[in-house]
Subunit: 424 residues, 2 copies
C-alpha cells in the first residue's frame, strides 16, 4: 500500500507538471491525439477486447448482475461507437485560448479574460470502461491533465484503454504525464486521492449514488457529479393535449433510469379530466405505475387497466429512476410553481402551454438548471444541447449549471498588457 501511495503521488506530480504545458498546447496537437485515440481503438481492438474478456469472465464468475455485466462489456461495435464519439469531441471547437471582455482601460492597460484549462482533473469511476476514454478525451480537448482511477471489476479493460490513450498522446506530442492511470485498485487508495487538493483541481466521480456521495463528502477539492434530477412537467390549462401527451410520455418512458426523466406530472384542474385519461392510458401501456393524489385518483380510478397507487408524501420530490410517476392536480400555475420550488432538485423542469404569459412566467420564475417550454426534459444532455459530450449535469449554481461540456472544464485568467502603468 505504501508504494501504491508513493506511485499515486508521483503520478500527481507528473500530472501537475504536464498540466502547465497542456495549458498552451496547440489545438492541432490535442486534436491529433484524439484522432490517434480513435484510430488506435480500432487498430488495437484485439488487445482491448481480450483484456475485457478476462474482466467479464471474472465478473460473471463472481456473480455480477446482468445490468452491471452489460456496462462492463465491450465489443467491436461498442469500440467503433466509442471511437466515433472521440472524433466528435475532436471536431468541437477548442474552448482554450478564447479571450473575452478584452478592452483598453482609460490608463492604457489592455485587459481581458483568457480561457485556460482547470489544470489537473481526477476521475473516480466504477465498472464502465468507456469512461476511461470519455473522460480522457474531454480532458485532453480542454487541455487538462488527468488522473484516472477506475473500478476493480474493469481493471484490465481500463488499463488497456488507458494505454491506448497514453500511446496516442505520446505519438501526437502531448507532454508525458498528461494521462495517468492508477493500476492499484485498493479502495484505501481513493482516500489518498481525495486528499490531493494541492494537485487535483476538480474531481469527477462517475458511478452509483454510493460512490458519488462518498466522493462529494470526503474530497478536499471541488467535485462535479451528475446531480439528482427530480423533474416536473406541468401541463397548464391552456396546453395542447397532443403535445402534452407526447412530452410527458417521452419524458417518462424514453429512458426512465436517468436523471432527466419525468418524476412528477402536475396537471391544471381545468384540463385534468380531459388530459389525464389519455396520458394514463399511454403510460399504462408502457408499464408506468402512477402514484396519484386524490383528485387524479378520482379521475382515473374507473379505468381498471391502469396501475394506480395513492400518492404518499414521500412521492413528491422523489427521483424514481424507473417506470413510476407521481401525479398531482393543481388549481393554478402558481400552485405548480410552488410545488416545483418546494420539491424540485433544480435539474430540469417543463411547462406545456399554449399561453404566452404562463410560458414566460415559468421561464422566469422556475429556478433550475434547465427550464423548458413545450419540450421533453429528456433533452437535458450535453450532446442534445450541442455541447458535444458531457462529463455530467450540474445542479449546483456555482461555476456551471446543467450539462458540463469541454468549456465547463476550463476557467479563465485575467491577462493585462501594460506599458509601465502603476496605480495612483
Amino acid at each position: 500500500m505504501e508504494s501504491a501511495v508513493e506511485e499515486l503521488k508521483e503520478k500527481g506530480r507528473a500530472a501537475k507538471a504536464a498540466s502547465r504545458r497542456m495549458a498552451y498546447l496547440p489545438t492541432e496537437v490535442k486534436n491529433q491525439a484524439l484522432h490517434n485515440v480513435a484510430d488506435d481503438l480500432l487498430a488495437k481492438k484485439d488487445e482491448v477486447l481480450a483484456a475485457n474478456q478476462i474482466d467479464y469472465k471474472e465478473a460473471e464468475a463472481s456473480g455480477m448482475n446482468a445490468a452491471m455485466l452489460d456496462r462492463l462489456f465491450l465489443s467491436s461495435s461498442r469500440l467503433e461507437s466509442i471511437a466515433q464519439d472521440v472524433l466528435a469531441v475532436a471536431a468541437l471547437p477548442d474552448p482554450v485560448g478564447e479571450v473575452f471582455d478584452m478592452r483598453t482601460l482609460p490608463n492604457g492597460l489592455l485587459i481581458g479574460r483568457k480561457r485556460v484549462p482547470l489544470g489537473v482533473i481526477g476521475a473516480i469511476y466504477e465498472s464502465r470502461p468507456n469512461v476511461t476514454i470519455d473522460i480522457s478525451v474531454l480532458c485532453l480537448k480542454s487541455g487538462n491533465a488527468i488522473i484516472l482511477r477506475g473500478g476493480r471489476e474493469a481493471i484490465r479493460s481500463n488499463s488497456a484503454l488507458a494505454e491506448v490513450v497514453q500511446e496516442a498522446c505520446k505519438r501526437a506530442g502531448v507532454p508525458d504525464g498528461a494521462v495517468n492511470f492508477i493500476e492499484n485498485t485498493d479502495r484505501a487508495l481513493v482516500n489518498h486521492l481525495l486528499k490531493m487538493g494541492d494537485i487535483i483541481d476538480l474531481l469527477i466521480p462517475r458511478g452509483g449514488a454510493g460512490l458519488i456521495k462518498f466522493v462529494t463528502e470526503n474530497a478536499a477539492m471541488p467535485v462535479v457529479s451528475g446531480g439528482v434530477g427530480v423533474c416536473h412537467t406541468y401541463v397548464d390549462k391552456s396546453a395542447d393535449v397532443a403535445k402534452a401527451v407526447a412530452i410527458a410520455f417521452n419524458a417518462k418512458v424514453q429512458r426512465p433510469t436517468v436523471c432527466n426523466a419525468l418524476d412528477t406530472l402536475l396537471v391544471h384542474a381545468a384540463l385534468a379530466q380531459r388530459y389525464l385519461p389519455i396520458i394514463a392510458a399511454e403510460w399504462a401501456e408502457a408499464g408506468v405505475e402512477m402514484h396519484c393524489d386524490e383528485r387524479a385518483l378520482s379521475i382515473l380510478k374507473s379505468s381498471p387497466s391502469l396501475k394506480l397507487v395513492p400518492a404518499t408524501d414521500e412521492d413528491w420530490g422523489k427521483e424514481f429512476l424507473s417506470l413510476v410517476a407521481a401525479v398531482k392536480v393543481v388549481d393554478s400555475l402558481d400552485e405548480a410553481l410552488e410545488h416545483i420550488e418546494r420539491y424540485g432538485s433544480g435539474h430540469s423542469e417543463a411547462i406545456v402551454t399554449e399561453g404566452y404569459q404562463p410560458a414566460m412566467r415559468f421561464l422566469n420564475e422556475v429556478d433550475a438548471a434547465c427550464v423548458y417550454v413545450n419540450a421533453s426534459t429528456r433533452f437535458t444532455d450535453g450532446g442534445q444541447f450541442g455541447l458535444g459530450a458531457e462529463v455530467g449535469i450540474s445542479t449546483q449554481k456555482m461555476h456551471a449549471r446543467g450539462p458540463l461540456g469541454v468549456k465547463e472544464l476550463t476557467t479563465y485568467k485575467w491577462i493585462i498588457f501594460g506599458s509601465g502603468q502603476v496605480r495612483p
Copy 2:
C-alpha cells in the same frame, strides 16, 4: 439563544422567498433602491453617526486598537464617500437577464443561457460598518437576497445602516425579505448560519484571517473570500529599468497591507547589478526591509542605508502584508517561472520586460488569476478592472477568478423554447 436561532431561520425563509421575486425584479426597481440608499445615507446621517458614536465610544473604552477603531469610525465625509460608491454600483449595467449562447438547434428547439442571480447570499463580517452597505448594494444590483451578520463592535452602526437599506428598498418596491440583518451578535449563531446550506447559496466572509479560515472550513455552502496573495514581480534581463523601478516600487509601497502588493521581487542576473541598487535605494527611502538571497545580498551589502536581511526559506511564498519584500536573483525566465509556480498563490504575478517572447511566455505559462506585463500588481481590483465594486478577489479556479464583481454574483439557467419536441 433558541429564539435567536428561530429568528435566523425565519429570516432565512424570508430571504429565500424574496429571492424568487428578486430574480426577475426590473433593473429600474433595483437601481431606484440603490439611489434611495445613497440619498438616505445622507438624509439619515445624524441617526447613523449617533449610532456609530455609541459603538465607537464603547470600543474605545474597551481598549480597541487604533487601526480597528479607524475601521469602525464613520463620519459625514465617509458616509458621502459610501453614498458615491452606491451610485457607482447603480450606474453599472445590470448583469441579470443577459442571454448568451442562444441558438436554434436542428430540431427547432431555441436554447440559450440566461444570467440569473445566485439566490441568497450570506455575509459574515467584522468591525467595518461600510461592509453592510457594500455587500447589500452589490447583492441588490445582482438580484440576490441577503442575510447580513456583522460584528458585535459595530452592531449599532450596522443596524442603523441595515435599516437605511431596508427602508430604501421598501420605498423602491423591492420585495420584503430581500435584505435581512441579524441583530443578535452571539457567536454561536454563526455556527447555525454556516449550516444553512439549503437557504444560502453563497457565503462571503469579510474580516481577519481567523474569521475567513473558520468560515471556509465550516460552511456547508460555497464560500468566496479574498484569497491569499503571494505576488511576484519578475524583472527580466530585457526590462526597461525605469519602468521596472516604478512598477516594483508601486507594487510594494503604494499600499503594502493588501493582497495584491508585491511580496517577492525576482531579478534576472544580467540586470541585477544595474537594477537592484536603484530599486533598493527607493524602497529604503520608503522604509522597505529587503530579505535578500545571497546574490542580491552581495550586490547590495555595500550600501549601509538599506535595511537588508538574509532571506530564509520561509521568505519565499510568504505574504508579508507590510513593508517587507523578499528579493532573489534568477538566471533565466525559466527559473522565474519555476519559482512562481512553486511559491505563488495564484493571485497576481507580473513580468517587466521589453522582450516580446518573455512577455508572451509569461502570460501563457503563469497560472494565476491575474497575469501582468509591465504593470503593477496593485491593479488587481474590481474597481481598477472596470467591474465596479468587488466583494473579494478569488484565487480559486472554479466559478470566477480574480476580482468578483456583480456579474460574479450570478449564475445562469438554460432556457429552452420548444414547440412539442420529444427526444428520439
